[in-house]
Symmetry: C2
Subunit: 133 residues, 2 copies
DNA sequence: ATCGTTGCAAATGTTTTGCATGTCA
DNA sequence: TGACATGCAAAACATTTGCAACGAT
């Protein structure tokens, strides 16, 4: 496997990235595949999975597991470490950077004698538009 | 289905709870099943899944999805809302309650016009014992 | 007898892999 | 020609469900 540039180098990778740009928030591999098919692209499900795997490794997309166990993918604006605030209704997502949180995490960990290797925070709820309607 | 007491009322539920007490941290359904089998208990995999489902609904055990997509379960000491600090090596886990975090989450959400329905935070790293050895 | 529990087998759904084919340098 | 990329079909998973047998009240 050759190192892929940030833009995605294979046909499948380009197609998947394009689909992710349209996606309101996190989309599953199956959804991406269906969307591509619907838009006339002829990409196999296998290639979608492989493209997502590559893109994830390179860091171009973020992965999130749903409660149902489905992996969902999202193209993130920021390439820095951040967390998500996702609307359950319309799928709108806000990327939030949180230095205080990072600090707090490190603090709590060290207070328990732990070294932090990784952490995840996901907040789900309703965005302003959906909460009121 | 009848309401099950906190102790677990079916044979499968009792067995699963017992297995979870021994578990150093989160264990998958398959692991629990294997452990029960190894210890001589004759419990079907199906019953393990069903027991875990019931126990989860009642709130006796917590669920956590691994990156691999496997659901893992843990018997939690606290029945209040809390987060986990898990050691990747030995599996030791600390349950941490974090009022500041909850406040911060609510704050960030409202700043973006969101209403918070749910949130998850997982911290993984190395405990003191494993970090130094 | 009745009703919940059990567990096998089969179904489901996602993701991965084997393999033959296509494509581009 | 050679190294990938592709996609179908099949496999590998975790998990759920249908269903008949079982156990306790």
């Amino acid at each position: 496997m050759i190192a892929t540039g940030a833009g995605g180098v294979t046909r499948a990778q380009r197609a998947v990235l394009a689909a992710l740009v349209d996606a309101p928030s996190f989309a599953s591999a199956q959804e991406i595949h269906a969307r591509l098919r619907a838009s006339g692209e002829t990409v196999g499900l296998t290639s979608v999975y492989r493209a997502l795997q590559s893109l994830t490794e390179v860091g171009d997309v973020d992965v999130l597991r749903t409660d149902a166990g489905e992996a969902t993918y999202r193209r993130c604006d920021s390439d820095r470490h951040h967390h998500h605030l996702v609307c359950r209704h319309c799928g709108a997502a806000v990327e939030v950077e949180a230095p205080e949180l990072e600090r707090w995490v490190a603090d709590v960990a060290s207070r328990h004698g732990y070294r932090v290797d990784d952490h995840t925070l996901e907040i789900s709820g309703a965005c302003g538009r959906c909460a009121t309607s």
